[in-house]
């Protein structure tokens, strides 16, 4: 479980996060939603420590991340997997080397063991015979799947996904969403997904927090989100032509 307690974050005098408190539970796909510029990416980066919070705490299963020193954070981060918006695969390495990278850095496994693990996680994300391909030779969906494979290679306890569906067609987005959900339930990990895709919200949103202008505006799940009276959230949820027509 990950808890954000009273988080404030300011950039050059501009308040991006204001007193945000929320809990992300284990075994669930926890979604952070909000409009572009609402602060959801900043919240995620504060949770993983890529940004330092101005005030507040980030607690990983009763371990205060904000009080940890560099070495303690490094140790905790080995329990974290993260899927970045563009995949963030290392351009100079092929698929196999990308997925094997954390195993090379943090384990003393033999090459056979590492290869076994790499092939296992690649198969888990439905990719086979791509080991020798370079990231530039992969489609957007394949890059995301390789990035997921790399993120789960070390059996993480916490999985963060930053806009996993950006740049993907609806069908591929669905595949990625279901993969994230399956992995979350299969390994019983705490997963946090940052998205503004309503399809994702409705298909995998076990728990949803809505960030509006840097503040936590609403908490719920994929069932309750459609019946909320909250006007800002309604505007977000039914903001597209398709959803507004469905609502009518």
């Amino acid at each position: 479980m990950i808890e954000a307690r009273n988080i404030d974050k300011t950039f050059a005098g501009h308040h991006v996060l204001i007193n945000v408190s929320c809990t992300f539970e284990k075994g669930k796909t926890n979604l952070i939603i909000g409009q572009s510029g609402s602060g959801k990416t900043v919240l995620m980066k504060c949770l993983v420590g890529l940004f330092e919070v101005d005030n507040g705490k980030v607690i990983y299963d009763e371990r205060d991340f904000t009080k940890m020193n560099f070495e303690q954070r490094k140790t905790l981060r080995r329990e974290i997997g993260m899927l970045f918006q563009g995949g963030a695969l290392f351009d100079s390495m092929n698929v196999e080397q990308n997925v094997m990278f954390p195993l090379n850095m943090f384990t003393d496994q033999s090459l056979e063991e590492k290869l076994g693990r790499v092939n296992f996680v690649l198969k888990r994300v439905n990719l086979e015979d791509v080991n020798r391909l370079m990231p530039s030779e992969l489609s957007g969906g394949m890059r995301k799947r390789v990035a997921i494979a790399r993120a789960i290679a070390m059996n993480p306890q916490y999985l963060f996904c930053d806009e996993p569906n950006s740049g993907l067609d609806p069908q591929t987005s669905g595949v990625i969403d279901h993969l994230i959900r399956e992995i979350t339930q299969e390994y019983n990990i705490t997963t946090i997904v940052n998205t503004h895709d309503m399809n994702s919200v409705l298909s995998i949103g076990d728990s949803v927090v809505f960030i509006y202008k840097g503040e936590l505006w609403w908490k719920g799940d994929k069932e309750t989100i459609l019946y909320t009276e909250n006007p800002e959230l309604n505007e977000f949820v039914f903001g597209t032509e398709l959803t507004s027509r469905l609502k009518r």
Binding site: L50, T75, R77, I80, F90
Partner: protein, 247 residues
């Protein structure tokens, strides 16, 4: 003025993170060998080309400027040797490497920054500054002296070829000039400067790449800054080191 102090402070802070023991020695070793190839061996062609032509130009200019019959033609070989070893190879070639290698380092690391690859390393618990910059610094310090010695040979060879081809100076005179009053200390001086310059090029370029924020435009800007600042600091240190080592 504040920006100068703040940039210098950030550079020192980054170097503190760079100069830590590598997380995995085997990985560091492989990366360093790759960088020796990327930053050093791939520069052999340009170093050879520039050195030969510069050596040839120095030789021709010297030969044409010797008017007095009291000055022996062997002075051409002497002048080529001195100018190539003392200044041309260590400083001018380092400036050229600042352009070639510096822009490569800054754009490579800068692109990794804007495509979140550095964030990915950090999230995994890797000291990204050490992982990305340290092998480049060590590789540069090891391979640049080799490049400079190679450049010295090429410069002198270029001078000799030019003299033989134009018939201005005989091989005997040229070789005799090369051997006049040779002091091994000049090589030590040149290589000491080279090691300093190699550190300047790789660390400053790594710094500008690492500090890149934004997109493609900023990567280009980081690359330009890396070359400009490396060149300026090389010129400044050249003066300081020459004063310290030759007086």
């Amino acid at each position: 003025m504040f920006k100068v102090f703040s940039t210098t402070g950030n550079y020192v802070m980054l170097m503190k993170r760079v100069f830590t023991p590598p997380q995995k020695r085997g990985i560091f070793w492989n990366q360093m060998l790759t960088e020796i190839n990327n930053l050093g061996l791939e520069s052999l062609g340009i170093v050879a080309f520039i050195s030969m032509f510069m050596g040839a130009v120095v030789a021709i200019q010297t030969a044409y400027n010797i008017d007095s019959p009291l000055i022996p033609m062997s002075m051409v070989g002497f002048t080529v040797r001195q100018s190539v070893i003392l200044e041309f190879s260590p400083t001018v070639i380092s400036l050229i490497l600042a352009g070639k290698v510096g822009s490569r380092i800054a754009s490579e690391i800068g692109t990794m920054r804007v495509t979140e690859q550095i964030d990915a390393l950090e999230i995994m618990g890797v000291n990204s500054a050490n992982y990305l910059i340290f092998p480049k610094v060590v590789a540069s310090i090891l391979i640049n002296p080799v490049l400079i010695v190679f450049s010295m040979w090429m410069g002198i060879l270029g001078g000799w070829i030019a003299m033989v081809a134009t018939g201005l100076v005989s091989t005997n005179d040229f070789v005799q000039g090369i051997r006049i009053d040779f002091e091994g200390y000049t090589i030590f001086y040149a290589l000491t400067k080279t090691v300093f310059f190699a550190f300047i090029i790789s660390s400053i370029s790594g710094f500008f790449g690492y500090e890149t924020r934004g997109g493609a435009l900023e990567v280009g800007q980081a690359s330009t800054n890396a070359v400009v600042f490396s060149s300026v600091i090389i010129i400044l240190f050249n003066l300081v080191l020459t004063q310290l080592l030759l007086t």
